[in-house]
């Protein structure tokens, strides 16, 4: 079976991650309930005329994908596959508000045009003049993993050699106010918002765009090989360990083979048990990593998680800022990522040094 390698990455997040080695410039923020991205200099990548028309997520997607392609030195792209939970929610909001506020009169199409979930993938294709396979997944916190799964399958099917995949989500004011109302986002005035010892419900939210170039060939720039991905809609807290054991077994591995486990802790006391149970049982001897205290929670935050995993393999180090249990290892060869959101959309991703 043909293998799939991560050969380039591009990450726009709440941290400085665009031209850093890893997370050496990362800062912990325990006072905000919503993290904004550290915006890149868009005009270095996109024409000023286009910048004005583009939504945040589109701009971030274009920049992050360009950086990933540059690093991988990828000139021809055979597929563009994106994942996004809420899509271009800023434009959706804008158009919907206009409909309601103006009673369906005096509307202009711009924000409607941009509101489609596949806008980012489409705009990247347009920019690259790439007529290849182009797909967008929108399934909560497995949106990105669905894209990764599809891309790996495309390489195995010998349908593509070089694929751009990415996870993009943006925050938008009104939607965030609804999420606060619904309790998805933590209440104000309860800071400091810690992640591992949290006693409160809801998550600290964020946004970002993380892109990868996945290719069938190993290169000088290769970060890791993507061994396997599994997506499961629903699991109970006590079912996760068995599922992980079976997933590893299918890859001829066991828990002791895992050099680090990247967990999606988001500080929501209601659902972090999914991770805590693993931390305190199956993986007590494994270096444990968390990252959403740096990126914030959003449907495609797990793409930031994969970026973290890939960087650990490349740099062979676990920075203190992302360590859950202070364990270290001589070498980091095989890394498992596990993520879920509110008890649904579980994903296991396995990557390894090559």
């Amino acid at each position: 079976m043909r293998k799939a390698y991560i050969n380039g990455v591009g990450c726009i997040s709440a941290q400085e991650t665009l031209d850093t080695i890893f997370l050496e410039k990362a800062e912990i923020n325990e006072k905000d309930t919503i993290f904004a991205i550290k915006a890149p200099v868009y005009k270095d990548f996109i024409s000023p005329v286009a910048i004005r028309r583009m939504a945040k997520g589109v701009k971030n997607g274009i920049v992050a994908s360009a950086i990933a392609m540059k690093e991988a030195n990828a000139t021809t792209i055979d597929a563009i596959i994106t994942g996004t939970g809420l899509g271009c929610i800023e434009d959706s909001e804008k158009f919907l508000k206009a409909i309601i506020d103006n009673k369906e009169e005096f509307l202009t199409p711009t924000s409607f045009i941009q509101s489609t979930h596949n806008t980012v993938g489409a705009q990247i294709a347009l920019g690259l003049q790439c007529k290849a396979y182009n797909l967008t997944y929108v399934n909560g916190s497995v949106s990105f993993e669905s894209a990764l799964f599809d891309a790996k399958m495309k390489i195995e099917e010998q349908e593509a050699n070089s694929i751009l995949i990415g996870g993009i989500d943006e925050t938008a004011e009104f939607t965030m106010s609804l999420f606060k109302l619904a309790g998805f986002i933590k209440k104000e005035n309860e800071s400091p918002y810690t992640f591992l010892e949290s006693t409160t419900k809801g998550a600290v939210y964020g946004e970002g765009a993380t892109f990868f170039v996945l290719e069938n060939e190993k290169k000088d720039t290769t970060y890791a090989e993507v061994l396997d991905i599994e997506i499961i809609n629903k699991l109970g807290v006590n079912e996760v360990e068995t599922k992980i054991i079976n997933f590893l077994k299918a890859n001829e591995l066991q828990i002791s083979d895992i050099d680090a486990v990247v967990l999606g802790y988001n500080g929501d006391v209601e659902f972090d048990d999914y991770y805590k149970t693993l931390s305190e049982n199956a993986f007590t001897k494994t270096p444990q990593i968390y990252y959403k205290h740096l990126s914030g929670e959003y449907n495609t935050a797990s793409a930031f998680g994969l970026w973290v995993g890939a960087k650990i393999i490349k740099t062979q180090q676990i920075l203190q800022i992302i360590s859950v249990n202070n364990l270290k290892k001589e070498a980091y060869k095989t890394i498992l990522l596990y993520n879920q959101y509110k008890g649904i959309d579980h994903s296991f991703t396995l990557i390894s040094k090559c």
Partner: protein
């Protein structure tokens, strides 16, 4: 075997609540483009739609949902069609095999969001609807109602979404990653899309006339349709009846404009070319093309050019758009038209392209305007969406 087995299908659309009802409407020219009743919109007098004449309350009662449910209309339509498909495939134990669900939607729970937008802050009883906005919620609700545990995901590539879900499903079976997968799409009518297409000035003020020189745009519609795809091993073991097979699929990007298609139909051509490659079929083997045919000036010009390029002016097979019956059901269209393609194969018929009178001046393409009976082995179905997303599926008679 020449493709992935389809063992069940389900549909709810403006022209019928079941596969049988849809078929009866198609062969009797029973169109369902009407004045909108379930949504209050200032455009109701001017723009007709393909609406399912059931209120949300009726749909919820039919599904026996509890009063504290937070189902969007999109989710309810999805559950109805998916349940039909599973029943039609004779499945009693949904998790007996490694089973997945790949759905598609473009509006998701937008119908609830737009209804309650500002009221969320006034009425705490409405807060439950906030989480039903996103596309994934729709698919989760379908999975839960089916009792399905496994790979569940959602595709959203505008109006080609469901075709892409069927394509992914076929690949999952072919690669052996799943034994069985339920694939399709669902989209309810919403003020959001009615106004969106209105601002793009591609809504017809009358009845849509695909491939007619005087076509003025589309009628929106709402629908949901699902197919059950199963591996040959399961088909054999369970001695399943195979409705038809997914033999080819292709997706390409037009890379021309965010909402408009290129005049020469590059993306559409590439998608069809790819589908032929996968199916290992030649264009002359196609007996019927169920075109995307939205009846917007732009789509039909672009699709027509691509069809001429791939089939040749002399050899264009019988083709028709079924959107005059149902309206354009957006993310569900690819699945709705997959069901119609399978019906065409099962019943050896070409459905008529209604409302056509005058050929387009750009080329000599005449759709099949009356019901035609003939042997049908292979049907090609196109679905194109915003973002230059072009998808083609080929369905074949099972041997």
């Amino acid at each position: 075997m020449k493709g992935v087995a389809i063992t069940g299908m389900g549909i709810i659309s403006a022209i019928g609540n079941t596969v049988e009802e849809n078929y009866v409407s198609l062969v009797n020219n029973k169109v369902a483009i009407t004045t909108i009743e379930n949504i209050s919109t200032v455009h109701s007098g001017l723009n007709k739609v393909g609406e399912i004449k059931k209120t949300n309350k009726q749909l919820a009662d039919e599904l026996q949902l509890s009063s504290d449910n937070n189902f969007s209309r999109t989710a309810m339509l999805g559950v109805i069609a998916a349940k039909q498909a599973v029943r039609n495939a004779g499945i009693t134990e949904i998790n007996e095999y490694k089973t997945g669900l790949i759905s598609a939607t473009s509006v998701g729970g937008m119908d609830m969001t737009e209804t309650h937008y500002y009221d969320y802050f006034e009425d705490e009883n409405l807060i439950k609807y906030i989480s039903c906005h996103d596309g994934g919620d729709v698919t989760h609700k379908i999975a839960d109602e089916l009792g399905l545990k496994g790979m569940v995901t959602t595709i959203s590539t505008a109006c080609s979404s469901a075709a892409n879900a069927i394509m992914l499903g076929a690949r999952l079976i072919k690669s052996g990653k799943l034994d069985r997968v339920i694939v399709g799409g669902t989209d309810a009518l919403a003020k959001f899309t009615i106004n969106g297409f209105k601002t793009l000035m591609i809504l017809s003020d009358g009845y849509n006339k695909p491939f007619d020189n005087d076509r003025k745009g589309l009628n929106l519609g709402e629908a949901s349709a699902f197919l059950v795809l199963e591996s040959d091993a399961v088909v054999k073991k369970e001695n399943k009846k195979v409705c038809a097979r997914v033999s080819g699929y292709g997706n390409a990007n037009d890379a021309f404009h965010q909402t408009a298609s290129s005049e020469n139909g590059d993306g559409a051509f590439l998608a069809m070319e790819k589908a032929f490659q996968v199916a290992n079929l030649k264009p002359e083997q196609i007996d019927y093309v169920n075109v995307h045919g939205t009846a917007t000036p732009n789509n039909d010009l672009s699709e027509g050019s691509a069809i001429l390029k791939i089939f040749g002016a002399e050899n264009t097979p019988d083709f028709s758009s079924t959107k005059p019956f149902t309206g354009h059901t957006l993310a569900a269209a690819g699945a709705v038209e997959a069901v119609y393609s399978i019906l065409a194969i099962q019943n050896n018929v070409v459905f008529p392209n209604l409302n056509f009178k005058i050929p387009m001046q750009e080329f000599n393409l005449i759709p099949q305007t009356t019901l035609k009976h003939k042997n049908i082995e292979h049907v090609l179905s196109n679905s194109f969406g915003f973002g230059g997303n072009c998808s083609t599926l080929i369905f074949s008679k099972s041997e």
